[in-house]
């Protein structure tokens, strides 16, 4: 009898070890797969921005995108990931209520830590870091489209590093972390990063655009001129690829169950520990996407804005993707898309030349997404745990809104101002007129009969 019990216990232990190993492998694979999906975002931005550029600037625009992604990888490895874990409680680097933040905890994410490399005892940090790195690169790509055809590449890379390694990371530490002060004190809720990624990047771009100035020919005699890109089809395909990549982005916003670092043994959680299911995301992403396209179609009839509306519809719903009733997601996405033309006209009247509408799609609609949670989804416990935690509220969302705007706009404006003073922001006038490709790119975009020069 005792032998049978011992054998049974050994069998149970073996089964438990097997199940645990399978779960760990699944969790690791889950986040690993979000990374190539999120790379589609960058494929999309690459195509989108090349299409939105005139023939003379196609490759210069591509170089900017490729380098932003590349520089963000080491920058986020060397400092960005540490910032995220060190600063959730504010600037003091103190430990938060859940004890998963602060200087001591964040030491594990310093670049000389054994956790930040191949390690049999830790199969999670690498894939988490990878997913966060792609979030960071996304912020840079959002800013990238707004500034095409006249920004110096070095100035742009510096701005991309500041945005991707500091600006959005502080916003994420404060509003997208279970120890973040916006969450613990104000119940700020932003499941899909409408504020911490889209708003921050959109308004960072606005700060840069003020110092960068419009492209030559954009505004003449007080009127605004449309500067068409060279390939609308390429732009539309790019936008659709960004949306495909968004599935990876939003997938990476959910915390896999059953691991030591998971919130639950059986159910996906949000980054705040509150429950979510992939079904909830599926319902609401698709409904927001559709609402955004249809809303934009009604108000513009323009395929560029319709596809931007698809993106804008998802962004409008992003903060509450875990909470919306799908028809609500449709209506919120629809409403967001309807706001786009007015927002774009508003910024244009201020003399802002946002070449792809990034401030509108990401900044304005990100803000709408944050406010929508405050208007429609109040009263939810903002964190997991016993009763008494902060709950979602309009006040909390408005506080978050102000913080997100400041995290984006202030560094965007100040850093670009410094770059402008040192002559690192804008290309010379003759290069802008001749075309950036023929000026500095040792390759041609379309060798067979289509010139890269404005003068040819």
């Amino acid at each position: 009898m005792e032998e049978e019990i011992a054998k049974l216990a050994a069998d149970v232990a073996a089964l438990q070890a097997g199940a645990s190993g399978t779960n760990t492998a699944l969790a690791e694979t889950y986040y690993y797969l979000t990374i190539p999906l999120m790379i589609l975002i960058h494929v999309g931005f690459l195509a989108y921005e090349m299409g939105a550029s005139r023939t003379k600037n196609v490759l210069a625009s591509s170089i900017k995108n490729i380098l932003a992604f590349a520089f963000l990888v080491p920058a986020f490895y060397l400092i960005g990931f540490w910032v995220y874990w060190a600063f959730p409680t504010g600037l003091s680097m103190s430990t938060g209520p859940l004890e998963i933040s602060g200087a001591e905890y964040a030491a594990y994410f310093l670049p000389w830590s054994e956790g930040m490399g191949p390690n049999f005892a830790d199969s999670a940090t690498g894939v988490f870091w990878g997913a966060f790195t792609l979030f960071a690169a996304t912020t840079a790509s959002i800013m990238s489209g707004a500034v095409i055809e006249r920004i110096k590449v070095i100035g742009f890379i510096i701005l991309a590093i500041i945005l991707g390694t500091f600006a959005w990371v502080f916003a994420a530490a404060w509003g997208w972390h279970a120890d973040g002060w916006l969450v613990t004190e104000f119940g700020y809720h932003d499941f899909g990063a409408a504020g911490v990624v889209h708003m921050v990047a959109g308004f960072f771009a606005l700060g840069v655009l003020i110092n960068l100035g419009p492209r030559i020919g954009k505004f003449t005699n007080g009127t605004s001129n449309h500067i068409a890109g060279h390939s609308m089809p390429l732009t539309l395909i790019g936008l659709m690829l960004i949306i495909a990549g968004f599935w990876g982005f939003l997938m990476a916003c959910a915390i896999f169950p059953g691991e030591a670092w998971s919130w639950s043994s059986a159910q996906f959680g949000t980054i705040y520990g509150t429950p979510v299911t992939l079904s909830a995301l599926t319902f609401n992403i698709l409904m927001g996407f559709a609402g955004g396209i249809i809303g934009a179609w009604v108000v513009t009839r323009d395929p560029f804005w319709m596809m931007s509306g698809a993106l804008g519809g998802i962004i409008s719903c992003a903060a509450g993707l875990d909470l919306w009733w799908p028809p609500m997601a449709f209506a919120i996405g629809f409403a967001g898309a309807c706001m786009m033309p007015a927002s774009a006209r508003f910024f244009e009247k201020l003399g802002i030349d946002d070449a792809v509408g990034a401030v509108t799609v990401h900044g304005t609609l990100g803000a709408w997404g944050v406010i929508a949670v405050g208007l429609f989804a109040t009263g939810y416990p903002a964190l997991f745990g016993d009763a008494g935690v902060a709950v979602t509220s309009l006040t909390g969302q408005l506080v978050g809104l102000v913080v997100m705007f400041a995290c984006g706009f202030v560094p965007g404006y100040l850093v670009s101002l410094v770059l402008k003073v040192f002559g690192l922001l804008r290309v010379p006038e003759h290069a802008e007129i001749d075309g950036l490709d023929i000026t500095k790119v040792p390759a041609v975009a379309y060798p067979e009969g289509i010139s890269s020069s404005n003068n040819a």
Partner: protein, 54 residues
């Protein structure tokens, strides 16, 4: 619009948790979504007819 999580904690909560779950607002939003689709089709038809006339 109200949260169905009334106890102030997610502990022990089961079932539908979306905004308005269990209230009449659920059908209101269904009708709003349907209405927006119909509105889009009506306006789209008017735009298309107008474009062909030009």
């Amino acid at each position: 619009m109200g949260s169905p999580v009334e106890s102030g904690t997610w502990n022990g909560f089961e079932g539908a948790y979306f905004v308005g779950a269990g209230s009449g607002m659920v059908s209101v939003w269904v009708w709003i979504a349907l209405g927006l689709c119909v509105l889009a089709l009506v306006l789209g038809a008017a735009h298309e007819s107008s474009s062909y006339r030009k």
